[in-house]
Symmetry: C2
Subunit: 481 residues, 2 copies
Amino acid sequence: MHFISVAHLLGLLLMFLAAAMLLPLPFSLYYGAEDYWALITSAGITFFFGFLIHRLTAFKRDLRAREGFAVVTFGWIIFSLFGGLPFLLSGSISSFTDAYFETMSGFTTTGATILTNIEQLPHGILFWRSLTHWIGGMGIIVLSLAILPFLGVGGMQLFKAEVPGPVADKLTPRVTETAKILWSVYVLISAAEAILLMMGGMSLFEALTHTFGTMATGGYSTRNASIGAYNSAYIHYVIIFFMVVAGSNFSLHYRFLRGDFWAYFRNKEFRYFLAIIGIATLIIGLDTFFNQYSRNFAKTLQMTLFQVVSIVTTTGYGTADFEQWSFSSQFVLLVLMFIGGCAGSTGGGMKVVRIYLLIKFMFGEITRLIHPHAVVPVRLNNAPVPKEVATNVLGFFVLSILVYILAVFTMATMGLDMATSFGAVAATLWNIGPGLGDVGPTDNYAHIPIIGKWLLSLLMLMGRLEVYTVIVLLSPAYWRK
Amino acid sequence: MHFISVAHLLGLLLMFLAAAMLLPLPFSLYYGAEDYWALITSAGITFFFGFLIHRLTAFKRDLRAREGFAVVTFGWIIFSLFGGLPFLLSGSISSFTDAYFETMSGFTTTGATILTNIEQLPHGILFWRSLTHWIGGMGIIVLSLAILPFLGVGGMQLFKAEVPGPVADKLTPRVTETAKILWSVYVLISAAEAILLMMGGMSLFEALTHTFGTMATGGYSTRNASIGAYNSAYIHYVIIFFMVVAGSNFSLHYRFLRGDFWAYFRNKEFRYFLAIIGIATLIIGLDTFFNQYSRNFAKTLQMTLFQVVSIVTTTGYGTADFEQWSFSSQFVLLVLMFIGGCAGSTGGGMKVVRIYLLIKFMFGEITRLIHPHAVVPVRLNNAPVPKEVATNVLGFFVLSILVYILAVFTMATMGLDMATSFGAVAATLWNIGPGLGDVGPTDNYAHIPIIGKWLLSLLMLMGRLEVYTVIVLLSPAYWRK
C-alpha cells in the first residue's frame, strides 16, 4: 500500500471540493446572504488542508487495485468530513454526527436526512446540500463505468463486454477521455431537466436543486413535503422521466446521443428495468386505486408511478405517504429497494442485471438437477457471461444479505422496531433515503441514536461503493504485503 | 417419466400408512375409545386405495432421478391427504383445508397448527397427530442420507464425501441396509427420550407424543401451553438435549453408537451448530435477563436455551411467549429459523453446513478482489468441496430467498401484516411451526385465509424436500422427453 500516493490524490480532490463550495454563493447572495461567510470559510479551510496534503506528498507510481480501493473509500469519507463544514459553520446543523450523516447521505446520493424543517435553512446551504448529490452522482458514474471495471469490482465488469462504447480497460489517458464524455452527458441531461422544470414554473434555484436530486438519484428536496409540495402533474412527470434516465446505464445515453437510437432497446437490462417499473406500478396501482385514491385513475397512475420509479431508481423523492398503503404494496417497495437501478447508472441497489443473472443462474442449477451432466452457461445479450463475473455476482448477493442481517440486528439492539430496522437499513444500504416505520416518507433520521447514525453512514458508503470495496479494506489480506 | 412405477410405489406406501393408523388404537381404547372407529375406518379406506393402486400398477424398471422426485413429492402430498382422514372422520377438524394443513404440517415435521384447543381432542387422535411427525422425521432421515444424494439434490452430497459410514451412492440393496441402520438409531434414541421423560413424571402417552415431536423436530404437543405446561426444569432440559440430538446429523449418532466417541467433535458442521446455539443464547439471554426474567439466572438460561434450541432445530416447542421479547431478540430467532439444523438431521432450514459454505465462498470472492488470479477453493473438514456442490448451495440460497419473497408478498396481499407475513412464511418454509405476529407462539394458523393455508402447506412441502425437489417438478424441462 502506497499511502503517499493515496494522500496526494486525496489532497487534489479536496481542492476541487473547495472550489465546488463556492458554487452556491450566487444563490446565497441573491436570497439574503445569511450563509455567505459559512460557505467561504468552509471553502477556505477545505482548500487549505487539500493544498497542504497535496504539497507534503507526491505521486510516486502508478495506481494498483489496492490504492484504487483506498482512494475511492477514503475519498468519500473525507469529502463527507469537509463537506459538512457549511452546515456546521452556518449553524444549520449543530451536531457533528448529524452534519456527517447529512453530508455522507448527500455524496452517496442516498437522500436520508436528519433535518426536520428543511425550508428554514438559508438558500446557499440548501443549494450546497443538493449539490453534494450532483457531485456524488457524477463520481459514481465515472467510478462505475471507468474505474471499477479496472479494479475488477463487482458486476461492473459485465457491461465492459456489453458496451463497446466509452468503457476503458485501464487507467490510461483513455479513462480521462471516458470520464470527460460521461461528465458531458451528465451535464447535458441535467441542463435539459432544469430547463424543463423551469418551464413548469420552478425558479432557477428550485429547478437546479431538484435536478441535482433527480440526476444523482439522490432525493434531497428544498421543500419539507418533497415533490409533493408541487401541485403540478407536469413537474411530477418531468421528474419521473429523468429519474428513469438517471437510473439507466449512462453509456446507453452516450450511444443514444451519438445517434444510435435503438441502443436502449437492444439492452436487456434496460428492457427488464422498464418491465419491473411496469409490473410494480400495476400491482401497487390496483391496490391503491381502490384503497387510497378514490378510484381516480389519473391520480393513481401519477402517484404510483412516481413512487415506484423514485424507489426503484433509489432516488427517494416523495409525493405520497406510502406508509398509508397496505403492507403488500409496501413490501413491493421494499423489494424494489433491493433491486435498484441499472449498472452504470447513478442508482443504488443490487442492480437489475445482477438480479437477472442470479435468476438465470438459479434456473441453470434446476436444469442440472434433471440433466446432471448438462453444461448450462449463464448468458446475457446472447453472449456467455464469464465464470468469474457469475461467481462475483453470487458473492455480492451473499455479502449484501449478510451485511443487511447484521445491520438490522444492530439497529434492533438500539430499540428500533421491526419496520424501522428493516426500512432504515434497506434505505441507507441501497442509497434510497426514506425507509419504513419511524424513518418513513413523512419522518426523518433525527431520532436515531448516535451510534445508529454512524452505522447508517457506513452502510451508505458501502452501498455506494458496491459493498465489496469497503469490505476489502477491512480484510487482513488487503493489508498484508 | 414412468407413472406406473411411481403409482406402484405410492400404493405400497399407502398400505404402510394404513398400518400406522392402527398404532394409536391402544391409547384410544385406554382413554375412552371415542375415536376408535375414526381410526379404523381411516386405516381401512387408506389400505383399500393403497391396495387398489398397487394391484393395478406394476414396477416396470429401475427408478431414475425423475421418478425419484415424483415419488418423494407425490408421496408427501398423498400421505397428507389420507393422513388427514382420522381428523375429519372423528370430527376433530371439520374443514378439509384445515385437516390437510394440519397433516402436512405433521408429516413435514413443521408443527404449525390450526387447532385452538388441543386438549379437547380425543387421545387416539392426538397420538396420531404426533405420530405423523415421527413418520415424517423418519422419512426425512432416510431421504436425506440415503436417497437424496443419489438424486443429486442439494448440499446433501456434501457429507457423502464426509461420512464414510452408512451412506450409499445408488438405490441398490445397500440403501435398504442404510435405511435399516438409520431407522434403528432413530428408534433407539426415541426410546431413550421416552424413558427419560417418563422418569420426569410423564405418562406413557405424554412421553411418546412429546418424543415424536422432539425427535422429528416437529413441535406438536398434547397441551395448549406446549412444553410450558410442564413446570419441571428436568423435563425442559431432557427435551433441549434431544432437540439438539434430532438437529444433528444422524450418521454421527450411528458412528457414536458404533464406538467412535469423537465423531461429533471432528465434524465441523456440528461444532458450528453448537457455537450458533451458544452465541444466540448469550445474545438473547443478556437481553431477557434484564427485561423479562427479573434477573433470575437459572430461569433465563432455561427459557432462552429452550427457545433458541427449539427454533434453530426447527422444532417449534414453546416454553416462553417470545413475542414479549424485544425485536432484537426476535430478529435473532428469525435468523435462527433460516439457519436451521445440520444436514442429515430431521431439522429444516438452510442447514448449518450450507450457511458455512456460503460464507466461505463469499470470503473467497473478497480474496479474489485483492489477488485476481488466486484460486480459492472452498474447503470443508480439510477437503475441497466439489464445484457442483458449491454452485448447488448458491443456487439453493438464491432459490430460497426468491421463494421467500414471493410467498411473503402473496401472504401480504391477503391482508396479513408485516410480522405475520414474514413469520408465517419463515415458520412454514423452514418447517418450524410457530412464527411471529398473529401466528406467534401463543397464536395458531386458524385465522389464515383458505388460499393462505394451501400456500403455506405447499411451503411446508418445499421446505421439507429442500425446495429444489418441488421446483424441479414444476419446471418444463422435467416433463420433456
